[in-house]
């Protein structure tokens, strides 16, 4: 008898869950981004990609959803490479990237939604406040290995980098010339690889000898790490706009084909006045000043 009770409970649970979540097989199989709605403000889309863009995308989605309650925007991370690939594979409606597209990726439709600086970060206990581009290059290629060589206390530098598909990494190694045309990415192979913006920040916060790089928008809001200035220029909005802080990159939203339906509505929102206000409110820079 007890077994039957357990079985009954399980069946009830299934029915409950089904009713709760409105189990509707096959109905919503067609990606909502391609459904043509009258006013494009219902349905659901999936996005993934850059973990630098992700917090911003979530904020934008939240504001958008407040105005359009019948929409569902699912956002995942993974890195710019994931976003680009998923958009190209047709596996998501919008992919997010924090670096420019390479020539072979240009078949995607791209929408620049913001500009972001890449902050170089160290642990707050680290004495160093400023590094030159040259020093950063040498640290990341393994020439400089101890903090005392750049004015800090003696200690072996823990170099932290992002995974190869990261847009942040791509932009970083390009702008600091760590990536060269002939040899490609010359980041020292012993660097610790972390898979997202948050993971890099967490690693730096936990290791007094670590150095890393992450999205300015995220770094600014994080405690536990310290941004250092490069060539004397601090990582601030003005310096990024003016170009004095040299390491910055665009935030892109990518679609496989011309966006329609909810995807189009969301993108229009982001590129419009309201979306751009949200963006600048979160320490990112508007796409068009």
């Amino acid at each position: 008898m007890r077994i039957r009770k357990i079985l009954a409970f399980i069946c009830a649970a299934v029915l409950l869950i089904g009713a709760f979540t409105g189990c509707a097989p096959a109905e919503t199989k067609v990606p909502a981004g391609n459904k043509t709605e009258e006013d494009g403000v219902s349905g659901s889309i999936t996005m993934n990609g850059s973990t630098s863009v992700q917090p911003l995308a979530e904020e934008l989605a939240k504001v958008f959803k407040d105005k359009n309650p019948n929409t569902t925007i699912d956002i995942q991370g993974g890195g710019s490479g994931v976003g680009i690939k998923s958009a190209a594979d047709g596996v998501v409606d919008i992919g997010m990237s924090s670096r420019d597209l390479k020539p072979e990726e240009k078949s995607l439709k791209e929408f620049k939604i913001a500009v972001d600086g890449i902050a170089v970060i160290v642990n707050p206990n680290n004495k160093v406040e400023d590094l030159s581009t040259e020093q950063i290059f040498k640290i990341y290629t393994g020439e400089i290995t101890d903090w005392k060589e750049v004015g800090g206390d003696s200690g072996e530098i823990t170099v932290v980098t992002r995974e190869e598909g990261s847009g942040t990494r791509g932009a970083f190694i390009e702008l600091t010339k760590i990536e060269s045309k002939s040899e490609g990415d010359r980041t020292v192979a012993s660097a610790i690889t972390q898979g997202s913006t948050g993971a890099v920040i967490a690693t730096i916060a936990g290791d007094p000898n670590a150095i890393g790089y992450a999205s300015f928008g995220s770094a600014k809001e994080s405690t536990g790490i310290k941004m250092i200035s490069i060539d004397g220029k601090a990582c601030t909005e003005e310096n990024i706009y003016s170009g004095e802080y040299k390491i910055s990159r665009p935030f892109l939203m990518l679609t496989k084909a011309e966006p329609t339906g909810l995807a189009k509505a969301f993108l229009d929102f982001i590129l419009g006045e309201e979306g751009q206000t949200v963006i600048s409110g979160h320490n990112y820079l508007k796409a068009v000043k």
Binding site: I3, I6, L7, A13, V14, I17, F20, T21, G22, C23, A24, P25, A26, E27, T28, K29, P31, S44, T46, N48, T51, Q54, P55, E58, T72, D74, I75, Q76, G77, D89, G90, V91, V92, Q194, G195, S196, T197, G198, A199, I201, A202, A205
Partner: protein, 288 residues
């Protein structure tokens, strides 16, 4: 044998034997103690850190701010959703397979092949399931990140567990049950359906529960098939985040220590309950 007769000759040697035995036993006791310690330390460290942040609110609120704030309500539901989905598919298939193996099959090449298949499936690393699930369900079949992709991938993962336990419990149903039923005129299938299976249900249920446990704890295969987006999936074609995935993301991104430990606590408690239930079932019904 020479060793023994030589060393038992003098009393000095006898003492040496005793000392060796004492040391050896100490080591063995220590081994057992370390094992238990490992369990207590790991579970304990999670619970100790997480209990503080656990609250009814945490369990009933939605996650906010990428998981930094809020609770894990939708995540819990997604986990249950995914578990039930995979089980609803894996259980029938697994039970049928087990029935076939015990009741109908004749020893031979085909059976060996099937068993080999099950053993192999059981040993495949979870990341390979993730790889396969992504390329096959998400991309090739165009199911995209969804409960379907995740559920089907997990079905393959837990199938061996279910088949094994179901097979064991069907085997343990006494032959007399079957003979009695057949003697009364029932067909083979009727016998199985109405007599053998009901008797084997406790054991089968154990396998199902263990399968749930596996699904709940799985990360690598889930993250590449069911996705990792927050928010309740409103149909089986939407992605969702399970507790294990959420824990992984919180841990690697360092978004919120409190929520991280709290999620881990909920996860461990869930696993504890699942294990406990399965154990009780085994004790009471399968091996009385």
């Amino acid at each position: 044998m020479n060793e023994l007769s030589e060393s038992s000759i003098t009393s000095g040697s006898v003492n040496k034997i005793r000392k060796n035995e004492k040391t050896a036993f100490m080591f063995v006791w220590a081994a057992a103690a370390i094992t238990v310690l490992a369990l207590i330390v790991i579970v304990g460290s999670v619970l100790v850190n997480g209990i503080n942040h656990l609250s009814l609110e945490f369990l009933t609120k939605e996650p906010a701010n990428m998981g930094k704030d809020g609770g894990i309500f939708s995540i819990i539901i997604t986990t249950v959703y995914l578990a039930l989905f995979s089980l609803l598919i894996a259980a029938p298939i697994g039970i049928c397979a087990a029935v076939f193996l015990t009741e109908y099959a004749k020893e031979g090449l085909v059976i060996s092949l099937i068993r080999f298949g099950i053993e192999t499936l059981a040993g495949i690393p979870s990341i390979i399931f993730g790889l396969f699930g992504y390329v096959f369900f998400v991309v090739f079949l165009k199911f995209r990140y969804s409960m379907v992709s995740g559920g089907l991938t997990l079905t393959f993962m837990i199938l061996p567990t279910i088949i094994r336990t179901a097979e064991e419990s069907v085997k343990m149903v006494p032959i007399s049950y079957r003979e009695g039923s057949l003697a009364l005129g029932a067909t083979k299938w009727q016998t199985i359906y109405k007599v053998v299976l009901p008797a084997a249900i406790p054991g089968i249920l154990t396998g199902v529960i263990l399968g749930i446990g596996r699904v709940v704890g799985e990360t690598a295969a889930v993250i590449y098939t069911a996705g990792s987006s927050l928010g309740l999936p409103d149909s089986i074609w939407r992605p969702g985040r399970t507790m294990a995935v959420h824990l992984y993301i919180l841990a690697s991104e360092g978004l919120s220590k409190g929520n991280m430990y709290a999620t881990a606590t909920v996860l461990i408690i869930t696993v504890l309950i699942i294990n406990f239930t399965a154990n009780r079932l085994i004790k009471q019904f399968v091996r009385p």
